[in-house]
């Protein structure tokens, strides 16, 4: 028989599937390690046609030592996720160099399965899962290839797909029911590369003339009940109360201070927040959340922060109210909210005086100021002119073109000139409703800045000056797809019929967003707690139940598949062959095995000289068998005769 380890087709198939399996590691592992593996793989590929070029003896030893040295230089050890994966990859590459027998083919194939599984240590997206499933299919096809005498790529791939399809119900059952063990996080996730840059912790309205609008997702919100109207969708982020006239920053000391409890009233909104990975630990809740999970804390300016780093998707259950009162403040906080970089200019004071800032109540002044923005020649634009010196005054008295940051900073500055405590709040505003999954998607483009004013008895009150000048910015989302630099701003109006169907791309994006969301919620986040919660809704309460159910479901699946296999078996049974096989079994016990392609006559002629005493009966049985199976007059009597002969045959 030809050694399958030298079969070109099998080798090409195996090496290609290994190439596919290792490919995503190019992004995860150090380049030298992956490069080393790639060189070995290409070397082996060339070796398919020119086996004499493969390294042997001393050279192979040097290559192996080189690989280990490389591993050590990159990771200084073999512990940890990256080092372990690199070790597997290098071992796989080195093993490729010495495929000598069928056994080696299997070994390489199983190593490749492990490398495939290691991809999940880096990325757990649905696309990666689909890719790994596809590659596993190719690996299975390689196994099919090695084991079938009719080696045909299409047939092998088809068979592998069937194997995968049969395994999926089992995998799902085990996924749902197998007891989950929480691995220590440091063991698995020490990477930072997925985190994305979101909002900044400072704001400098005059120095940016072009607001970067990105379509990147920041977080998703799924409401259990009513979804708040757009004008209430303020997602609170960093609070900026410190300013030097140009730049707004957070107050120095934001550590938790004992403060009065907030009170809530009005409609309650319950929701689940699914944060995308971030490089900061900010969590954006709807206005002011009422109750906090243990993994979150609130700082002095009511911003939510997660206890752990947000370098993977994280889920929080929160609830917020339509109305709230932040309660009493501290003198220090009030002091911070009155800080001005310098004595206000005459122009500023003049404006405040004109709007009644020094002689009427704060409420009246706020109203006057918003009216001023609305009635005077102020414009909302995403591409305002640069304002290098004294941006607030330049904006208020000269350019009058700006976006949310300009309005918020000007508003807060004027409030402070009037001796009213105020501060800038940044975060996100709005959110696009995913109609398919019925959740809100909040993207970077929806970053926003508004103001907060301290009013006695009412606490911190949100005032959004941008809403005064461009109410549609608050009611609708900016359509990023139609935005041109310096051009008009288009808004997405979800209510209007024409806009709702404005293109299928939007729909597809929403559908995909929903799939991705469900994957995250039901597969990735299916941890110990979620599992017990989910299973208890089916009445499966404890570990024992879980194991029983798992056993039962696996038994059902196995029974179904076995039934299917039995049903497939040809119904016509060759009795003659069954009897003859009994005879063969007796001979096999004595060490005489019939070859796969060996006919009964040839077999008899081969073994007769070795079993001279049994030669006559072997001849008789063979003759009767051939007569019965291939002869003209097969009959029940003939079969009976054969049975008797075989039963009497002893060795």
């Amino acid at each position: 028989m030809i050694n399958p380890a030298y079969n070109k087709n099998i080798l090409i198939f195996l090496l290609s599937s290994i190439g596919l399996i290792a490919l995503p590691h190019a992004y995860h592992l150090p380049l030298p390690v992956f490069g080393f593996f790639a060189v070995l793989l290409v070397w082996r590929f060339l070796g398919v046609w020119q086996p004499q070029r493969l390294p042997k003896g001393l050279l192979l030893l040097l290559v192996s030592v080189g690989g280990l040295a490389l591993l050590y230089s990159q990771h200084s050890g073999i512990l940890g996720r990256d080092a372990g994966t690199s070790l597997f990859l290098i071992a796989l590459g080195l093993k490729l160099m010495e495929i000598k027998s069928e056994r080696d083919l299997y070994l390489v194939n199983y190593l490749a399965f492990i490398v495939a599984a290691s991809q999940f240590l880096y990325e757990q997206s649905i696309l990666m899962a689909a890719y790994i499933l596809f590659v596993c299919c190719v690996l299975f096809a390689t196994l099919v290839f090695i084991n079938s005498y009719v080696a045909n790529t299409r047939v092998a791939l088809k068979k592998a797909s069937v194997i995968i399809a049969q395994a999926i119900p089992m995998a799902i059952a085990i996924f749902i029911l197998f007891p989950r063990v929480e691995a220590p996080r440091w063991l698995l996730f020490n990477q930072q590369q997925q985190a994305k840059t979101g909002l900044s912790d400072s704001m400098e309205p005059g120095s940016i003339s072009d607001l970067g609008l990105s379509d990147e997702l920041v977080f998703r919100v799924k409401f259990t009940g009513a979804i708040p109207p757009p004008q209430l969708r303020y997602w609170r982020g960093p609070v900026l109360s410190q300013t030097d006239g140009k730049r707004w920053t957070q107050a120095k000391d934001l550590s938790y201070q004992q403060r009065a409890k907030a009170t809530f009233s009005g409609t309650v909104y319950q929701y689940t927040l699914l944060m995308e990975p971030q490089d900061k630990n900010w969590v954006f809740a709807l206005e002011l959340p009422a109750a906090l999970p243990k993994t979150l804390r609130q700082n002095a300016v009511l911003q939510l922060l997660s206890v752990d780093a947000l370098n993977q998707r994280t889920e929080y259950s929160l609830s917020s109210y339509a109305q709230y009162n932040t309660g009493a403040s501290t003198p220090q906080e009030i002091q911070q909210a009155k800080q001005l970089p310098a004595t206000p200019s005459y122009k500023m004071k003049q404006l405040v005086r004109q709007l009644g800032g020094f002689d009427s109540t704060p409420e009246v002044f706020i109203g006057q100021l918003l009216t001023h923005f609305r009635q005077q020649d102020f414009h909302y634009t995403l591409t305002p002119p640069l304002m290098e010196n004294n941006p607030v005054e330049t904006f208020l008295f000269e350019t009058r073109y700006g976006f949310c940051s300009h309005y918020a900073s000007a508003f807060v500055t004027l409030m402070r000139v009037a001796n009213i405590p105020a501060r800038v709040v940044t975060g996100y505003q709005g959110g696009e409703l995913n109609a398919v999954g019925d959740f809100l998607e909040i993207k970077q483009a929806q970053a926003h800045a508004w103001a907060e004013v301290w009013l006695d008895k009412q606490g911190w009150i949100r005032v959004d000056p941008t809403a005064a000048i461009a109410p549609e910015r608050i009611e609708k989302n900016i359509d990023i797809n139609q935005l041109l630099p310096g051009g008009a701003i288009h808004y997405v109006a979800p209510s209007s019929e024409a806009q709702a169907a404005f293109n299928w791309l939007q729909k597809t994006r929403q559908l995909w967003g929903n799939v991705d969301y469900s994957w995250q919620r039901w597969v990735i986040n299916y941890n110990n707690a979620n599992q017990s919660h989910f299973l208890s809704s089916f009445g499966i309460e404890d570990f024992k139940d879980m194991v029983y159910w798992m056993g039962a479901i696996i038994a059902v699946i196995v029974a179904t598949l076995s039934g299917f296999l039995l049903y497939q078996k040809p119904t016509t049974v060759d009795h003659t062959l069954i009897v003859y096989k009994r005879f063969l079994k007796k001979l096999a016990k004595a060490g005489f095995n019939q070859g796969v392609g060996e006919g009964a006559r040839d077999f008899a002629e081969r073994i007769k000289p070795k079993l001279p005493t049994h030669a006559p009966s072997i001849e008789e049985i063979t003759e009767a068998y051939l007569q019965q199976r291939y002869g003209v007059k097969a009959s029940a009597v003939g079969l009976q005769h054969l049975k008797t002969l075989v039963n009497h045959f002893k060795i």
Binding site: M1, D574, T576, G599, Q627, Y630, G631
Partner: protein, 301 residues
């Protein structure tokens, strides 16, 4: 009837020494009404084998030496103007004989090859709109040199398919060679050979072979072989339905020569190399090696 065959084989074995199996396969091929292709280097007895068989079967025998300048008319004949009767008269060519030895067939151009091979398939010849039937029985034994030799035009696969079997003779073993060297001239022996079978007897034999029983278990095995050749990576192109029929016919003939009235797997295996070798890999010479994977991997039971 089988005794006649046995006698024929015995006599043939005395002329061509040490080639029992090849002679048996050649006779098997003729009994199955198939044309025979013998491929080997010059001088190993290809022509002698063909000549012997013709003599023993008592058939009209004509040898056509194929050369690079032979024309179709040299094979099938031509119309010549008869001055006496003022008309064209067809002069039949050497193909109008019961047994044709087409010697070194791959030395001629494809045009001449086609003329012969068409006649083989149709068992008739058409010249200028008139169809002339070929004599019955009609056999072609072609010999060819391995295609790596100089001045050869390899037969295409489609034409190789017309031959039921392809045989390789190979060098004789030392004993046979010794006898050959010591013995008298082969040509003289053949001249004196008496026919062992009459054409009428041959026809009876051929009819008897058609009645050999083929069980469904045997057909399973036969189909497994065909399926294997079509799906295995060892072969570029699997066996055609015509090849499957040829395999079965040859196996029946083999079983008959073995004095059995039913085909068993061993019969298929015995003729497999000769029947399938040239159909699976036209370029290669070693038929046994070509079919080795089939014999090793296709299960009999």
């Amino acid at each position: 009837m089988q005794n006649d065959i046995q006698r024929l084989l015995t006599v043939a074995n005395k002329v061509i020494l040490g080639k029992d199996r090849q002679i048996r396969l050649a006779v098997c091929c003729l009994l199955a009404r198939g044309h025979l292709l013998i491929e080997d280097i010059p001088g190993v007895g290809k022509t002698t084998l063909a000549y012997t068989l013709a003599k023993l079967l008592g058939m009209n025998y004509q040898r056509i030496q194929f050369t690079s300048d032979i024309l179709p008319a040299d094979i099938i004949g031509a119309s010549v103007f008869d001055a006496k009767n003022h008309e064209f008269k067809f002069h039949p060519g050497p193909i109008f004989n019961q047994m044709i030895l087409a010697d070194e067939i791959n030395r001629s151009t494809p045009k001449a090859q086609s003329a012969l091979l068409e006649a083989m398939e149709e068992r008739q010849v058409t010249v200028e709109g008139v169809t002339y039937p070929l004599p019955e029985p009609f056999f072609v034994i072609a010999t060819q040199n391995p295609s790596h030799q100089i001045g050869t035009f390899p037969l295409p696969e489609s034409q190789l398919d017309r031959f039921l079997m392809r045989l390789e003779l190979g060098y004789p073993d030392p004993n046979s060679e010794r006898q050959l060297l010591m013995g008298q001239n082969r040509h003289q022996i053949i001249q004196t050979l008496p026919a062992q079978i009459t054409p009428l007897q041959l026809q009876a034999l051929q009819q008897a072979i058609g009645k050999v029983h083929v069980s469904s278990a045997l057909l399973d095995y036969c189909q497994a072989i065909i399926y294997f050749t079509r799906h295995s990576s060892d072969y570029v192109c699997g066996l055609s339905p015509r090849a499957g029929l040829a395999l079965l016919t040859a196996a029946k003939s083999w079983a008959f020569m073995d004095q059995r009235n039913a085909v068993i797997p061993e019969d298929l295996q015995a003729v497999l190399a000769a029947v399938a070798g040239h159909r699976l890999k036209a370029g290669a010479v070693d038929s046994a090696a070509i079919v080795a994977p089939i014999l090793a991997k296709v299960a009999v039971n």
